[in-house]
């Protein structure tokens, strides 16, 4: 199986049925993508495929056709600094997934409204309740 991740092509050997999240973490050492529920409910494992946020924990690695972007590919995105400045991180375990969802949002809508942020970010659960700061980070991501 060939995967294009953050612009680099990887040759990976994994059994059919392996999730993209498992391949990223266990085979490629890309542990920025977190697994918190492993059944598609929490968003911690969010990555982009061709710019679209998906849940890598329930994506079969073998079915991936497009280019994968993980948090490792977004480390220099202005959102990272925006999250830091806004204190949009507590324990941080959900944060990489939050940043990936947010990056897709601001790519589609560079100046999202609060309502748009809430609609687009509702699939990323944060148990620490960092949401107000996440909203602030996204509202001011280009400041």
């Amino acid at each position: 199986m060939k995967l294009v991740i953050n612009g680099d092509e990887h040759e990976v050997d994994a059994p059919v049925g392996a999730s993209l999240a498992a391949v990223l973490r266990e085979r490629l050492g890309l542990t920025g993508t977190k697994i918190a529920c492993n059944e598609g409910h929490c968003g911690a494992c969010t990555v982009m495929i061709d710019g679209v946020p998906v849940l890598s924990c329930i994506t079969l690695a073998h079915s991936v056709e497009g280019e994968v972007t993980t948090i490792e590919g977004l480390r220099d995105h202005p959102l990272v600094d925006a999250f830091v400045r806004a204190d949009a991180v507590q324990c941080g375990f959900c944060t990489p997934g939050q940043v990936v969802s947010a990056a897709a949002l601001v790519a589609a809508r560079p100046t999202p409204t609060e309502e748009e942020i809430r609609h687009a970010m509702a699939g990323n659960i944060c148990r620490c309740g960092t949401y107000p700061k996440i909203e602030e980070a996204i509202l001011h991501w280009r400041d």
């Binding site: 973490r25 266990e26 050492g29 542990t31 920025g32 993508t33 977190k34 697994i35 918190a36 529920c37 492993n38 059944e39 409910h41 929490c42 911690a44 993980t70 948090i71 490792e72 480390r75 990272v80 999250f83 830091v84 400045r85 204190d87 949009a88 991180v89 507590q90 324990c91 941080g92 375990f93 959900c94 944060t95 990489p96 940043v99 942020i117 809430r118 609609h119 970010m121 509702a122 699939g123 990323n124 659960i125 944060c126 148990r127 620490c128 309740g129 960092t130 949401y131 107000p132 700061k133 996440i134 909203e135």
Partner: protein, 751 residues
């Protein structure tokens, strides 16, 4: 000088008499208000690596040759392993070891709840380990299971004896009262749901055991593992540099740690044991359900004359019984109080401390009851609370209490209620509710810290504490920077490793900042003293006229101004080392935190939907070290509280005792879309009696009053008394129907 004291130590509202070695705390508190660094908003020291996904959590630890372990769990609510055959599992591909009941602490032949661990398997992959569990052949003896807490109390199946408390003459006060309100409240089982599940990676290196674990207490795990395995504590190293949330559920080692340690010993390889989300929902602890039958009696002028409560803590198979009656005993001045707390031992998953255990549940009951009394007396709920203000904790003075100031600051939010109500329409009714907060959070000794000052003028604080996501790493750096007179970016903090720093207490019970902060300050002061001693010699000046300000050593006479880095060049590769300890808590005083929430809520009276629209929170937790981080704590507590108020509930099959809400589509925590407007204020007055810092903890206070404040806003909006958490649509519609009936019967509704 070290001093030995006999004292009462409080953790999560639990007290025990202990001997403590403490050191004097001679430092004067800084003046109130922001300093150069402390009291000013600071972004987290570790934000960047967490946001970029570079922080390495326990979940990310991959050691060479590491095996994966999985736990076999009881399918029955109460059963005994009569016979177990691990051989079929061991025969499967990839399986390297298997252990059964009694072969690791926490794996017991008697399973007290559906999901209790009895055996463990280690294999090359996680999938192989889980597949092997299915092959383990177990003969179960099913035992009598009790799942209903009231039945357990009736049958006397309890953890310990019921706790009874009485002051004054409750019966007489009730008999003589003008008004008596009795209500029954129920709170549900709530799951912590840390995003990082409970997990450990264990590796034996010679006779030393290295444990990477997601924990709130590295030293606690070290001590527990050493004790259980019968090895010297210094042969155990516990590491947790980053952890993905705990909320009270990760204060101890856990069977996953012991299983991994034993399997690692048997295989000679590192072993990782991580709970799945579904296991997390079953076997990682919970906030236990409660039943509260409460009574308040008052004179018609609003003076509360009696408070009483019969509480049942539905504890499950294990855990400890939190003081659900605490708020009722302590929040108001009331001479006649009687409480009983029975702790049902039922065959359900064990309780673990969850963010202000007991007080969250008890405050819901008490503060709803107070509002029901206010409605009955036709007294303003804020006034009723002020009228019954407690000026001491049943005779014991408070080290500091600014609840009155919280009420005063809450008034402008409370005064919005007329405008809020006016925005109601035929279906959406709007109202405002309030609730007060009381909880511990003073921390205590012992905790220690070191500082290292290098020749480049940079400072490392070294203390083996944890930052569980609350931002304490940053707060500690701020404290050290303030004391040493350097900018925050000159200070780093090393933590989370028992091999790399002195003892520090657990990150739980709102105790991290008040416990460890003063030790860090003392360690910074020790280093500063040494720097100034050397400077005095180097420049032939009197030490008492020297100080460090903004990274520069200055003399009061204005003759000296030399950069710290420039001066410390003389150290070469050496360092200045500072050492600090947490001093004692004030004797004969109650150290408590206070606050008030004012909530604006809207209720769709046709569909039972409840929306929290605005929350104003005013908290009194002494000095605020980092206003930005503090605000995040308050927001997070409120949002978590909105979850248990409106949508979160662990459900169980009453026939089998199996947890049904094992996934996050069924156990619904708030999303970003559920967040109301949150206004956050602090009294920010140092507690003059508490340590060199005057700070109390803030992790728990914000989650304490939110449920009652929401329920009271619902009552204000609709006249309906909700008595049960969560306020599901079902409960909301029931309460509305009840209110309608009451109105038809002619009793005045609250509005």
């Amino acid at each position: 000088m070290a001093r030995l004291i006999r004292t009462e130590k409080e953790v999560e509202g639990r007290f025990e008499e202990v001997w403590l070695v403490v050191e004097e705390d001679p430092l004067e508190q800084w003046p109130a208000g922001p300093g150069e660094v402390v009291g000013r908003p600071a972004v987290r020291k570790d934000a960047l690596e967490r946001v970029r996904g570079e922080a390495r959590y326990t979940a990310d630890i991959r050691l060479p040759g590491m095996l994966h372990a999985a736990l076999l769990r009881s399918p029955y609510a109460h059963a005994r392993v009569r016979r177990i055959d691990l051989a079929p599992a061991l025969a499967l591909p990839g399986v390297r070891a298997a252990i059964g009941p009694g072969e690791a602490p926490g794996l017991d032949a008697e399973a007290g709840y559906a999901g209790a661990p009895v055996a463990a398997v280690a294999a090359e992959t996680d999938a192989q380990a889980r597949a092997a569990l299915e092959a383990v052949d177990v003969e179960w003896e099913k035992l009598d299971a009790v799942l209903d807490p009231e039945e357990a109390v009736e049958r006397g199946i309890l953890h310990g004896e019921p706790e009874r408390y009485e002051r004054g003459d409750f019966d007489r006060a009730v008999a003589e009262a003008d008004v008596v309100v009795e209500s029954t409240y129920r709170t549900q089982v709530v799951l912590h749901n840390s995003m990082e599940t409970h997990q450990s990676v264990c590796e034996w290196i010679g006779d030393r055991l290295d444990i990477h674990t997601s924990t709130q207490y590295v030293w606690g795990v070290r001590a527990e593992v050493a004790r259980e395995l019968g090895i010297a504590a210094d042969r155990v190293r516990v590491v947790c540099e980053y952890m993905g949330g705990g909320f009270g559920s990760k204060n101890s080692a856990g069977e996953y740690t012991f299983a991994a340690a034993e399997l690692a010993r048997r295989t000679g390889r590192p072993v990782r044991c991580a709970l799945t989300r579904r296991e997390e929902h079953v076997a990682a602890g919970n906030r236990n359900a409660t039943l509260q039958r409460l009574t308040v009696a008052a004179r018609s002028d609003g003076t509360i004359t009696a408070l009483g409560g019969d509480f049942i803590n539905a504890l499950g198979w294990g855990g400890w019984s939190a003081a659900t009656e605490g708020p009722l005993k302590m929040l108001y001045a009331c001479e006649n109080v009687r409480t009983t707390r029975s702790t049902a031992k039922i065959n359900t998953p064990p309780m673990k401390a969850f963010r202000a255990p007991g007080f969250v549940e008890g405050t819901f009951g008490l503060e709803c009851l107070i509002d029901e009394l206010a409605a009955r007396l036709d007294v303003d709920p804020l006034e009723l609370r002020r009228m019954n203000y407690a000026s001491s904790n049943d005779g014991t003075p408070f080290s500091s209490k600014n609840l009155a100031q919280c009420y005063e600051r809450a008034r402008k939010h409370w005064d919005r209620r007329h405008a809020v109500r006016a925005r109601s329409d035929a279906t959406w009714k709007r109202g405002v509710g309030m609730a007060s907060q009381i909880w511990y959070g003073g921390g205590g000794p012992p905790s220690y810290a070191w500082t290292r000052v290098g020749s480049d003028g940079r400072i490392t604080v070294v203390t083996a504490m944890q930052d569980i996501g609350t931002g304490t790493r940053t707060a500690m750096a701020q404290i050290a920077a303030e004391e040493l007179g350097v900018p925050l970016d000159r200070v780093e903090v090393t933590l989370g490793d028992t091999a790399r720093g002195p003892y520090a207490t657990l990150s739980a019970g709102s105790s991290t900042t008040p416990s460890i902060g003063p030790a860090v300050r003392a360690a910074a002061a020790d280093a500063k003293r040494q720097i100034l001693e050397i400077a005095a010699q180097r420049y032939d000046l009197e030490e008492r006229i020297l100080d460090i300000r903004n990274g520069t050593i200055v003399s009061a006479d204005g003759n000296l101004s030399v950069g710290l880095a420039e001066f410390l060049e003389l150290l070469g590769s050496a360092q200045i080392l500072g050492k600090g300890a947490r001093g004692p808590n004030p004797t004969g005083m109650s150290v408590l935190t206070f606050g008030v929430h004012v909530v604006e809520a809207a209720v769709d009276v046709e569909t039972g939907e409840v929306r929290v629209e605005r929350v104003a929170a005013v908290h009194d937790v002494g000095r605020i070290v980092n206003p930005l981080g503090a605000e995040s704590q308050v927001e997070g507590g409120i949002i978590q509280g909105i979850g248990h108020t409106l949508s979160e509930q662990r459900l169980m099959d009453e026939e089998t005792g199996r947890v049904l809400t094992t996934s996050l589509d069924a156990y619904r925590m708030p999303t970003i879309a559920d967040v109301p407007e949150i206004v956050c204020e602090f009294v920010d007055e140092p507690d003059a009696h508490l340590t060199n810092l005057g700070s109390k903890g803030l992790g728990e206070p914000p989650i304490v009053p939110i449920a009652a404040a929401i329920a009271n806003a619902i009552r204000d909006a609709t006249g309906a008394d909700v008595h049960e958490l969560p306020v599901s649509r079902e409960e909301m519609l029931r309460a509305l129907r009840e209110a309608e009936k009451k109105e038809r019967r002619g009793a005045p509704a609250a509005v």
